[in-house]
Structures are given as structure tokens and as C-alpha cells.
């Protein structure tokens, strides 16, 4: 069981997972997003290799309208 915070919200997963799996679980596959894990950018190419750990804080962002 790991607990992580994604975009300010706590989430629990029954076993450790990598960023690609997380993206899929959040139904964000195929969407253009960027991910920051504990303050560091995780490039999209590294998603399958980057394992998440208990206590990780993630920001997942997208482009929206703005001036």
C-alpha cells in the first residue's frame, strides 16, 4: 500500500506503481500532460521506468486557456 498526493489530493494504491501506470489509472493516457514528482520533472519517456514511492507528491498539469 502506498499513499501519494496528486494535485493536492491524497490517493492510495494497493501496490507500488510506475508513472505510466499511474497515468493510466487516472485515465490520462493519451492526454498531453507533464508530471513533476517531488519537485522534479519526470520526462514522459521515463514514465514506465519511474517507480512511485510512499509519500510522493505529484503535480500533473495540462495547458489551458490563459492570457
Amino acid at each position: 500500500m502506498i499513499s501519494i498526493v496528486v494535485n493536492g489530493e491524497a490517493r492510495r494504491f494497493d501496490r507500488p506503481l510506475n508513472c505510466a501506470e499511474l497515468i493510466a489509472r487516472l485515465e490520462l493516457s493519451g492526454k498531453r500532460v507533464a508530471l513533476e514528482r517531488n519537485g522534479e520533472i519526470v520526462p514522459r519517456s521515463r514514465f514506465p521506468a519511474e517507480m512511485l514511492g510512499d509519500g510522493d507528491r505529484l503535480e500533473i498539469v495540462a495547458a489551458v486557456g490563459g492570457g
Binding site: 485515465e27 489551458v64 486557456g65 490563459g66
Partner: protein, 267 residues
């Protein structure tokens, strides 16, 4: 196409753009209107904001970039809503990753949520960090000529002084400061923030600005698509007027345009 048009491109960080009008994508009623307005404006550079993605809601819903694809537009991520240099830097690092390594960015660090006036001290700090990390920074700032020059010295690729407060539509409040900035700049100067209507944009270009960035002026007009088209013309007209070299202002030397001799009824 006018003969000199190809030679009068806006050049930012070594890349040429035919349009000197840059537009934002916020405050529209929907993506379709955003797209229609952007198209009517003729803008090639379009700003976007970077925000936490919605999770678990409307997973099939289209996104902004479906309407304004990176293949067609130069997307300029901004740091709207950032009040510290750290937040701005973090946001733009995410933006660069989001946009496949594209590193032309708009930096803004705000100082006050009511006036949205820039915090130029934190802006300078963020600019130093971002330039060191290889970003090409177009920086939103006040109309302080010394700060503008310092931002240029740091390595920003364009300086973007405000005309007036973001979203205020008050137009250019201090054309004299803008002139000083323009005279001393060796990078493009674009007015960003406060444009309200077409004449504001024309004046900016007449003063010698290289371009104008606007959002609310178009999105909050009663007919945004029509205003976008007006802005396109205004920017072109202002630029042509600037290149044409206006007549001097002569407050005390009125000079008629018609002959002063041969008037009937004279002795």
C-alpha cells in the same frame, strides 16, 4: 501582399513571425470561440496557462490544444497566477516538458492579486534562473525603463511592458516610458496587458513597439471575433504608420494643405 511585408517580420529569438499581434486564450465562452477569435486575429503566437489537470472528470472532453494545435501555432506558456520566482520557474519547467521541449516562454511574476501588478524583483530573479536553464524568456514587466533594460541584460529575448493593468482595458497610460524603453532596447518590445480597443494597439505600434500581446481586449468584447479582426488591422495600420514616418506635431504652426494665393475676392 505589400512589397515590404516579407522584410518586416517580427523576429523573436531568431524566429520570424508575420504577425505582430499575439493573443491569449483565456476568458472565452468556449473553445470554438477561442479558435475563431484566434484565427480572426491572425496571431501566430498564442499564450496558454499551465494548470493541474482535471482527474476523473470528463475524460473524453476535448482540450484546448485540440483546437489550437502546436503544429499550427507557437504556444507560449505563461506563469499566470505565480507570485514567487520559484513557482514561475517550476511552472515553466513543466511547460517545457509539456510542449515537447519548446522553450519560448512568457514569464510573469505577480505582486498583488487585486491589481495584478508585476513583482519586478521576483521577475528579475526568475528571469536569471530561467535564462541559465536555456529558456527563451519573453518577460512581462512594468513600464520602468531601468527594469526593462536589466531584464534584457539578463538575457530575456523580449521585454513586455504593460500598457495598464491586466484586464483593465485602460490602454497605454504612459507612452513616454514606453518610448524610453523602446529607444534603449536591443530586443523586441511588446506591449502586454491593458490594451482595450483597436486604437490602443495601433498606438503601441506607432510608438515603435515590435508587437502587442492582448487577451481581455478581444475575449471581453461583445463580439470577440470581430474585435480580433479589428485588432489585426490596427496592428498592421499602426506598424505601417510607424514605418511611413509620421508628420511632426506642430502645436503652434498651423499649415494649410491648400494654396494661400489665388483666393477669390482679394484686392
Amino acid at each position: 501582399m505589400k512589397p515590404h511585408e516579407n522584410l518586416d517580420a517580427l523576429v523573436i529569438a531568431g524566429k520570424s513571425y508575420a504577425s505582430r499581434l499575439l493573443v491569449g486564450t483565456g476568458k472565452y465562452q468556449d473553445f470554438a470561440q477561442t479558435k475563431a477569435a484566434v484565427e480572426a486575429s491572425g496571431a501566430q503566437i498564442v499564450t496558454v496557462a499551465i494548470r493541474r489537470t482535471n482527474i476523473g472528470q470528463n475524460t473524453g472532453a476535448p482540450s484546448l490544444l485540440d483546437y489550437l494545435p502546436p503544429s499550427k501555432y507557437t504556444l507560449l506558456p505563461n506563469t499566470a497566477g505565480c507570485y514567487t520566482a520559484d513557482d514561475a520557474v517550476r511552472t515553466l519547467r513543466l511547460a517545457r516538458e509539456l510542449l515537447d521541449g519548446h522553450d519560448l516562454v512568457k514569464l510573469e511574476v505577480l505582486g498583488d492579486p487585486r491589481s495584478l501588478y508585476p513583482n519586478v524583483v521576483d521577475t528579475l530573479g526568475a528571469a536569471r534562473t530561467l535564462v541559465k536553464e536555456g529558456f527563451k524568456v519573453m518577460v512581462y514587466t512594468s513600464d520602468d525603463p531601468i527594469i526593462a533594460k536589466e531584464l534584457e541584460a539578463i538575457g530575456c529575448v523580449a521585454v513586455m511592458p504593460l500598457a495598464s493593468l491586466i484586464g483593465s482595458g485602460m490602454g497605454i497610460l504612459n507612452p513616454w516610458n514606453l518610448e524610453i524603453i523602446i529607444q534603449h532596447a536591443t530586443v523586441p518590445v511588446l506591449v502586454d496587458a491593458g490594451v482595450g480597443t483597436a486604437s490602443d494597439a495601433a498606438i503601441a505600434l506607432e510608438l515603435g513597439c515590435d508587437g502587442v500581446l492582448m487577451n481581455t481586449a478581444i475575449a471581453a468584447a461583445k463580439d470577440p471575433v470581430l474585435m480580433a479582426s479589428a485588432m489585426r488591422k490596427a496592428v498592421e495600420a499602426g506598424r505601417d504608420a510607424y514605418l511611413a514616418g509620421r508628420m511632426p506635431k506642430k502645436p503652434y504652426a498651423a499649415s494649410p494643405s491648400s494654396p494661400t494665393t489665388g483666393l477669390i475676392g482679394k484686392p
